[in-house]
Assembly symmetry: C2
Homo-oligomer: 395 residues x 2
């Protein structure tokens, strides 16, 4: 299949390009390198030393014996989007080209507007390009499990049958996101659902858990390594814990770490997205998949990283910080995730081994983490202020 | 109270300014005159000959013996929004300053992006201004009953208690809007709810039915008349029927007119918004009111206008057009609207008399309608094409 990846230079995008190439798909993609700029703006850098796109294309060609189609540009620019879709003619469009950070969206008004506008307009451009140029293509849209929030009932996959005042209907499950970023994804989900209904487009909206890991198994060439961020805004939680452990920094939880979230190893994310791409929905179908391996509390994950690190000779302690976010730390959380199993998803059972691989990968780059370690402690607060989170007593 | 009206030059905004002045409130407002431009872009004009804002201010001063505070500017401009909120220091901010047209948002990508961006960014600016400048102010946000769509169950006021898999929770009622414009209002509702939760702001999100009418009872000065649009994009349905009747044009329904919608006379809208303003929610409360007088099918309304017109000597027939929208014409519809009754809303019982007043008002302006009658027949289609709707056989 011809698979177009929006955001191909990113953490997931660059991994997926390789994962799909290995499986024989024709991959193309675009990126505007905004992620590199945003991470630099936060004072961070990728823990892994990543190449520029030209060198990445060369390495890709060396390894997979095929060229990687790439164009640099901005998804909020309609002319660019329409030109690349016209030229590449994808069977599937994987939309990973959004600003993916809750803290970044909470910094101030400018960042709130940037994130919502960037994400909404990019998606609107892609939907219109599909309608006008490739109406049979499959949009694989990256959403987030964070769209649902933490309701006091089970979380279905996008839709649920409700009974209300004696009548029943199949309806979208109500979203209750926890940041301007997460809401931008909800706005996107609503826009994508509408476009499928109106224009007969097909889409899979992936509500993905928090991804962690440095690699999927297949590629050993260092030039192919994907970015791994550890700053407060673009570093995902397990990745941050691992980077902290590497430089003997305490593993810092927000509050006492009772928040339950869904998680997925990077290689499982690649497996799932590939299953989604290879099993497209029907024309005019909008389907929602919850994509994660398991549910853990933040405290459990900190303990996992501490324990695995200890087994390979790295001592790490766990420290509770003031929670800069406004979120419940003690709540019900029971999301469904059957659809991907039905397509054949085989989850990684041994999370500890994944964490061990990540720690071993990161050991080489401890200097890169050490040199930017200031970004490990959050200061973007949900009330609009900006102040480093202080240590609090453990529970 | 000091009431700030965003969009004070518009159909509702200009009416509300007067309604509140009569009741002793200090009114101020802003407008960028976009509505005037958008209507002109659609080839239309207000059926009523409205004054420019300077003349409106003078008339307001003559009539109410007080100045109308006004600044011209764009709500998507943060500097402007922060300056006017700082200067006016409102107790209530009534946000009517959005692009309110489904067809306009469906014209093409540029219009889709304009409507979603304009509405979302304007609201984000107001929310941030409230957080930083007037955290105790009450945001009265104009949403629309169209946010709900037409689900097969009763529609509550914003929230409902659900039972799912044996557990219960109070959740936002799922929205299923029918145009990019209506979705922009859903995105707004979500953003406003989030800001109230995060920052302790207070807001009433009004899901308003389709408004109709030329006036509320109190003001007879012609200089104070509000705009009444009749083009496909900015003319609301009963207003369009009345304008059609005035020039002996057939009353045109989209499809066979089985669509059920909620409606409210202009004077009831003013009464309700004033009740909302005078009864603010608690700090950190986000409440949703469904604001309408009654539910009718489009066909019933056409028949009402035909019948009232006939009683005052105007012959009008009803013609069914191809439906340019993608929407159900035969569906369940049962929205609640108790909250405003609890605050004392006394609905206009006699809709026919309201229609008669409107027809009589519009008779003076038949030339203005006649000269732009081309805009009465829709051509913006939900599938992305643009083609005048043709007559179809009646049901």
């Amino acid at each position: 299949m011809r698979v177009f990846i929006a955001g191909i230079d990113g953490y997931l995008g660059w991994s997926l390009a390789q994962y799909l190439a290995i499986r024989g798909h024709d991959v193309g993609g675009v990126d505007g390198y905004q992620r590199r700029e945003w991470v630099a703006e936060m004072g961070g850098q990728s823990a892994t030393p990543i190449l520029g796109m030209q060198d990445r294309q060369q390495a890709y060609e060396d390894l997979f014996d095929t060229q990687l189609w790439f164009r640099e540009g901005d998804l909020t620019d309609w002319r660019f989007v329409s030109e690349v879709i016209t030229e590449f003619k994808p069977d599937a469009i994987v939309h990973l080209g959004e600003c993916p950070s809750a803290p970044y969206s909470m910094i101030d008004l400018n960042h709130t507007v940037l994130v919502q506008q960037n994400n909404i307009v990019g998606t609107l451009n892609i939907l219109h390009a599909m309608r006008d140029i490739t109406p049979d293509a499959h949009l694989v849209k990256l959403g987030t499990m964070g769209e649902y929030g933490t309701p006091n009932v089970d979380i279905p996959e996008g839709f649920f049958e409700i009974e209300y005042n004696g009548r029943t209907d199949l309806m979208p499950f109500p979203r209750q996101a926890g940041s301007w970023y997460h809401w931008s994804k909800v706005h996107d989900s609503n826009n994508v659902m509408f476009a499928c209904n109106m224009w007969g487009l097909r889409s899979t909206d992936i509500m993905q858990g928090v991804v962690f890991g440095t690699r999927f198994d297949d590629v050993e060439d260092d030039r192919m390594i994907t970015r791994v961020d550890f700053d407060q805004a673009f570093g995902t939680i397990i990745n941050r814990f691992c980077c902290q452990a590497i430089i003997n920094h305490p593993l810092t939880t927000y509050g006492h770490g009772g928040q339950k979230r869904s998680f997925i190893p990077l290689k499982d994310s690649m497996q799932c997205m590939t299953l989604v791409i290879e099993n497209p929905p029907d024309k005019a179908e909008y389907r929602v998949f919850n994509q994660f391996q398991g549910v853990f509390t933040v405290g459990e994950l900190a303990e996992k990283v501490r324990s695995v690190a200890s087994n390979i000779g790295i001592d790490a302690n766990i420290v509770n910080l003031e929670n800069p976010r406004i979120e419940s730390e003690d709540h019900y959380y029971n999301p469904a995730h059957q659809a991907l199993f039905d397509l054949g998803y085989e989850p990684t059972e041994d999370i500890d081994s994944e964490i061990k691989i990540m720690l071993q990968d990161l050991l080489k780059y401890s200097d890169r983490i050490e040199s930017k370690k200031d970004v490990l402690i959050p200061d973007v607060r949900w009330n609009g202020s900006r102040q480093k989170a202080q240590r609090i007593a453990s529970a």
